[in-house]
């Protein structure tokens, strides 16, 4: 019982991450008709916003380390700690939440630059061309990040106060072995809030309505005389922010490295397609579904019956769904079929 419950939580958590990334991806699909292979990189850039904020907060003074006698070694003491003592340490501790504030404008900027500089010129090109150019861009950005931050993962913890686990088993009366990390729960709640935010933006603002109309019929909206180009920039920036925020919040869970986006890219594409190309609810549902399935399939009990199932479950489900429902769970006819 415990195990099932905790796998469910895990699945929801994973699903939230998938859904969040897939959401931005499918937004770009549905509205802009662009197959963005650089979307994973946006996620990675979000995570590296956190890394950068952390690095800035921990800019340090080099002090000769006298405890090392072999060679001249320097100790690094963050200026923040030197200046403000405890307060400084606390600020550094809160690097992840602080990064959110910085990540939003940065990701908006990245989104605008990407859309105006590159993506815009590819709306009318083949999907294959779009895939290639964004894939090329992804490699370039990755290499640049690698050049500045190295290839090793850079661990950044969640704030001390939420770094442990919550004894939800005790709380729910399910025994004390049922624990769940605070930060993962925060991540889940955060995801739900962001997803809800995006949906209400699309549903309740006029801006959003135009975007939704654009998802249905781009030419029609264009004919209404609305400056569709600018809306597209906004949509792309929105997708970038969603992916970036997902990245920021993900840093305490898995230490970010320059390649993390690519790992998520393939998966999030599968999620988007399973959900139905261009369908926002589809992406969210598919994200959660695949997350939960993956989580359950990695249980030992399951693996003993079906060895290797945890390795292929997502793809197996993807194949099955695409064969049974040609356009994914909630896809519409005619989107991305040529």
């Amino acid at each position: 019982m415990d195990v099932i419950f905790i796998q469910l939580l895990n699945g929801l958590d994973k699903g939230a991450a998938y859904a969040l990334i897939a959401l931005g991806l499918t937004l770009a699909f549905g509205t802009l008709g662009i197959v963005n292979f650089a979307h994973g990189v946006l996620f990675m850039l979000g995570a590296f916003c956190t890394v950068s904020v952390y690095k800035v907060l921990t800019i340090s003074e080099k002090v000769l380390d006298e405890s090392i006698t072999f060679f001249k070694a320097y100790k690094e003491i963050p200026y923040l700690e030197t200046w403000w003592g405890e307060t400084g340490t606390m600020i550094i501790d809160y690097a992840v939440p602080i990064s959110i504030i910085f990540a939003i404008p940065i990701m908006i900027l990245v989104g605008i630059i990407m859309e105006r500089g590159l993506i815009r010129h590819f709306y009318k090109r083949d999907h294959a061309d779009q895939i290639l150019v964004t894939f090329g861009l992804a490699i370039v950005i990755q290499e640049i990040v690698k050049h500045f931050y190295g290839a090793n993962p850079i661990p950044i913890g969640a704030p001390e106060i939420v770094s442990g686990s919550a004894a939800i088993g005790v709380f729910l009366g399910l025994g004390e072995n049922l624990v769940y990390p605070w930060w993962r729960m925060i991540y889940f709640v955060f995801s739900v809030v962001v997803i809800g935010g995006v949906f209400s933006f699309l549903k309740y603002t006029t801006y959003g309505m135009v975007v939704r109309a654009g998802m249905w019929d781009r030419e029609m909206v264009g004919m209404l005389g609305i400056d569709i180009q600018r809306r597209f920039t906004v949509v792309f920036a929105l997708a970038a922010v969603v992916a970036g925020l997902a990245g920021v919040m993900y840093t305490p869970i898995v230490a970010p490295d320059y390649h993390m986006g690519m790992n998520f890219l393939v998966l999030s594409f599968v999620v988007v397609v399973v959900g139905g190309m261009g369908s926002l609810p589809g992406a969210v549902v598919a994200g959660f579904m695949l997350g939960i399935l993956e989580s359950f399939s990695s249980m030992n009990e399951v693996k003993q019956i079906l060895p290797g199932i945890d390795q292929i479950i997502i793809y197996l489900v993807a194949v099955a769904i695409l064969l049974l429902r040609p356009r994914g769970l909630m896809g519409r006819k005619g989107v991305m079929e040529d």
Binding site: D2, V3, I6, Q7, N10, D13, K14, D65, S67, I68, F70, F71, K72, A73, Y74, K75, E76, G150, A151, N152, P153, P155, G157, S163, G164, S165, N177, V179, Y180, P181, W183, R184, P252, I253, V254, A255, D257, H259, M260, N263, E294, S295, S298, M299, N300, Q311
Partner: protein, 446 residues
């Protein structure tokens, strides 16, 4: 250095012109020319000799690879008489003079293994076929090491393994032309076992999370055997894919199991991620179902990994080939030499790579030739000291180095930023030795 490169290019051009004259027969002409001599890539009358440094420059182990490359460059500098000479002051026996190897200046080429066996072999092939490397060395994964070792053996080129910890490298996949200085999983198990008994007692149940490939399997087996001898029991091991980054669904099952010790047969980033998940789920503060406190063991540990895991590694036991904080003269000399050049102390990967290069050069000097037949003979059964691991022997039967093994613990109170691992015990060589036939394999002919 640049002189040589120019020379090489000019030479290549000259050959190209000559080739144009021979149109049809040219490729065979090259072929004969390259292999006609007594052994592959004989430097002949050339004033220099080329070594191939094949390390991961991209992918998950690239930071380790870069450190290896630093060590190699340092070794080349020392061999050519530059720098402070490093271990040339402490090495015993020592036949190096600082004027290269056998009077030939040491040059090198580098390649990227990408931590992938086929890519590593491609890169090694290029070194052998194009650059004329006389010896290939490097790597930071057993899969790669075994693959490249096989290739070198076929090409009859010396291979001095870098970081590789699988029993197979000098066990079932051992090769006549391959030599390993690094220790292996079996030794880790033997070295760790007594400490584990001391620290955690004899009534424990271990849960293995194992990277699903040959190194993981041999380590899992070695640790399982060693701990079961203590009286521990073992849960059915769980294999995790190498590409896994989020281990939460594995860790939750660990917590709900009947075990009380978690053994992470993971290396590099894998280990950073799995340990991070374990810490997030509060494993290290919990009491297991057996009533004992949960413990985590990382049998193969390195400072680079410790750096990647931050605070999570505090108090965790593991074993390592070498650590920069060792107090012997050789280690001190090496750290001084390395750290003064690069600003931080070397990793164990850097150490083993540096030592391998020096041992190869020394063996050439002793053999008086670059001919692998002679070099192999000089290395087999070679006993040496003053390289940071105490008295060491290259066993003739399997080309494995036997030396003391370090059991380390993640430092609870690091006094410096580099002081991440604390040496708990230096396990003497006798305790980790085993019979050469234990892991099977066959070196094959020279």
């Amino acid at each position: 250095m640049s002189d040589f490169k120019k020379f090489n290019r000019r030479e290549a051009l000259k050959l190209g012109v000559a080739g144009a004259a021979f149109i049809g027969a040219t490729p065979l002409f090259f072929n004969k020319d390259a292999w006609a001599a007594g052994f592959a890539n004989d430097p002949g009358n050339s004033k220099s000799v080329i070594l191939g440094f094949n390390v991961p420059q991209t992918g998950a182990y690239s930071e380790e690879g870069k450190d290896e490359l630093r060590a190699y460059k340092l070794a080349v500098e020392h061999l050519n008489g530059g720098g402070d000479g490093g271990l040339m002051h402490t090495m015993k026996p020592m036949n190096l003079t600082g004027n290269g190897i056998l009077g030939k200046k040491v040059e090198f080429v580098t390649g990227d293994t990408q931590t992938k066996a086929p890519a590593a072999r491609d890169s090694a092939k290029r070194m052998i076929e194009k650059d004329g490397a006389i010896m290939v060395t490097g790597g930071s994964s057993s899969g790669v090491a075994i693959a490249v070792q096989g290739l070198c053996n076929e090409a009859k080129i010396m291979f001095m393994a870098g970081l590789t910890h699988s029993n197979d490298t000098t066990g079932k996949d051992k090769k006549r032309y391959g030599f390993r200085h690094f220790f292996n999983a079996y030794m880790s198990g033997q070295a760790l076992a007594p400490i584990l008994r001391e620290e955690y007692g004899t009534d424990r149940r271990a849960y293995h999370l194992t990277a699903d490939y040959s190194w993981g399997w041999t380590q899992e087996e070695s640790i399982k055997n060693a701990t079961e001898k203590l009286g521990w029991t073992t849960e059915i091991p769980v294999r995790t894919p190498l590409t896994q980054t989020d281990f939460s669904s594995y860790i939750t099952q660990v917590i709900n199991s009947e075990a009380d010790v978690l053994v992470l047969n993971h290396y590099g980033k894998n280990m950073n991620d799995s340990l991070a998940s374990a810490v997030q789920f509060g494993l290290r503060d919990k009491i297991a179902k057996t009533g004992k406190k949960w413990e985590v063991i990382v049998p193969l540990f390195s400072r680079k990994m410790a750096q990647g895991s931050g605070d999570d590694i505090k108090g965790i036991l593991g074993s390592t080939n070498w650590n920069w904080s060792l107090p012997d003269d050789a280690s001190k000399a090496f750290v001084k030499s390395f750290a003064n050049k690069y600003g931080f102390p070397p990793s164990m990967a850097a150490h083993t790579c540096y030592v391998q290069t020096m041992l190869y050069a020394d063996a050439c000097e002793r053999a008086g030739t670059f001919n692998p037949a002679g070099v192999i003979e000089a290395l087999e059964g070679h006993k040496f000291d003053g390289m940071g691991n105490g008295p060491t022997e290259y066993r003739a039967e399997d080309h494995q180095c036997f030396k003391d093994v370090l059991v380390v613990r993640g430092n609870e109170n690091p006094s410096t930023q580099f002081d991440l691992l604390k040496v708990v015990k230096v396990v003497p060589r006798a305790q980790v030795e085993y019979d050469a036939s234990m892991f099977g394999g066959d070196l094959g002919p020279v």
